[in-house]
């Protein structure tokens, strides 16, 4: 029997090793698994490399992980928040935090490549700009492209709306964002959902993330 449900959030987050690369779904606050991140703070893993679109803001759980010195490197497209993120800004200015800035679509595609076992791809995005410096640039069909390498996650932390015990997922509105691509890329994919439903209750036509990509689901009611 396949049953990916775990009893509580501590069980969901257990076993994440120091030095892990952790993919975190979300665009701003929307679709970000803040409860799993809170549990990661308690769990204690250190020297983490996190891959996400933004880098937290205000006093959210990402900022708390940064403030606790648990993050070694951030790979993201936009480490700014309307709520401000003075912790990130300070760590970055002091050279205590490595930042790899990646265009948003390139970030999604590098994660997709990682999930698909693809060693790299050429994209026109960022060609001829500062973000292409140090990367191979090559012309195809008269147009400059940049070689981008995959991102592979040791762990993916994802928020979805509903799951079944096989780990099939559906999302809500713009909270889908990076969830599907990151879920497929994590060697260990952990998902927090509002509701776990009976096997068969999700219409196969409507499932967005097939359960094969998911390892653990925890129901949080939110």
């Amino acid at each position: 029997m396949i049953d990916k449900r775990v009893a509580d959030i501590e069980a969901a987050i257990s076993g994440i090793a120091d030095g892990s690369t952790v993919l975190i779904s979300g665009f701003g606050d929307v679709g970000t698994p803040f409860e799993l991140l809170g549990a990661l703070l308690e769990q204690g893993a250190r020297e983490l490399e996190i891959v996400l679109n933004n880098a937290g803001g205000g006093d959210d759980a990402i900022v708390k992980l940064l403030a606790a010195g648990r993050i070694r490197k951030v790979v993201c497209s936009f480490p700014r928040s309307s709520l401000g993120n003075p912790v990130f800004d300070r760590l970055y200015a002091e050279g205590k935090l490595e930042l790899e800035l990646v265009p948003q679509g390139t970030l999604a595609e590098r994660i997709r490549a990682g999930s698909a076992g693809i060693a790299g791809f050429y994209t026109p995005t960022s060609a001829g700009t500062r973000l292409a410096e140090g990367k191979e640039q090559r012309e195809f069909d008269g147009r400059l492209h940049v070689l981008e390498r995959p991102i592979v996650g040791d762990v993916a932390l994802v928020k979805a709306l509903k799951a079944d015990r096989w780990g099939n997922l559906v999302y809500h509105r713009a909270a889908r964002n990076f969830g599907p691509v990151m879920a497929a890329c994590g060697r260990l994919t952990i998902v927090q959902v509002k509701e776990i439903v009976e096997l068969g209750a999700l219409d196969p036509e409507q499932v967005v993330t097939p359960g094969i990509f998911v390892d653990r689901v925890v129901e949080l009611g939110l």
């Binding site: 679109n53 936009f78 700014r80 800004d89 948003q104 026109p124 001829g128 700009t129 713009a174 964002n177």
Partner: protein, 221 residues
């Protein structure tokens, strides 16, 4: 010379969107465009975070906190809308599926280079978001901007001084003073009422040409 207001710039842009176009809305000025689309035209607005068919802002109290645009403001979805993951959403720009991205700009060069992601040292870590993905791939890229900085310095230049978002991508520039096509240099198609070509040239950091059919810039009645 202040010329058009921000709303008037976005109104002017909206008049040029053709029926049936798929249009990405960048953050800033472009998000103000949708209400000004002339009635009778169907324009599908995309937001990079996976929304196609973005509608107007929700009524107060009717917001869905998980339904936001690229600027992280609450939006609505129109009948016919769809939702994509980031992987699919970001195929739509570099892949050329979006007809026209509308992008805010700090600077545009005479050959269409765009700088809209990084200014000189505000002391904060840099952030690029989807800017570079949006600027490549589409046959047309329209930039929306103030013609000069607050200090009156030109933002349309021979060469951008800020870091580039993408080289040679902008095809048209809408400012508070003019509408300019990037076509073997800068071709002025419309100038705001009360400003002459010579005065516009002094406010522009690259040589401009006057289109034979140049006319006063249209504003809402």
């Amino acid at each position: 010379m202040t010329g058009l207001s921000r709303e008037q710039i976005t109104w002017r842009v909206a008049q040029d969107l053709p029926d049936g176009a798929y249009v990405n809305l960048g953050i800033g000025l472009p998000t103000l465009v949708p209400p000004f689309v002339p009635s009778g035209r169907e324009i599908v607005f995309q937001s990079e975070n996976g929304l196609l068919g973005v509608g107007p802002a929700p009524a107060p109290g009717a917001e869905d906190p998980q339904l936001i645009n690229a600027g992280k403001q609450p939006v609505t979805l129109l009948p016919g809308a769809s939702i994509s993951s980031h992987s699919d959403s970001f195929l739509m720009m570099p892949g050329g599926h979006i007809d026209i991205p509308l992008l805010g700009a700090y600077q545009v060069s005479e050959r269409g280079d765009l700088a809209n992601w990084m200014t000189e040292g505000d002391g904060k870590p840099p952030g690029v978001g989807g800017a570079m993905d949006l600027a490549v791939g589409a046959k047309q890229v329209w930039a929306l901007m103030e013609h000069t900085t607050r200090k009156g310095e030109p933002r349309i230049l021979e060469r951008c001084t800020y870091e580039l978002t993408a080289p040679r991508c902008v095809t048209r520039i809408y400012t508070n003073l003019a509408m300019i096509e990037v076509r073997d240099g800068l071709l002025v198609r419309e100038i705001v009422e009360g400003l002459d070509f010579a005065a516009l040239q002094t406010l522009t950091g690259a040589a401009i040409r006057l289109a034979p059919d140049c006319r006063p810039m249209r504003t809402a009645a």
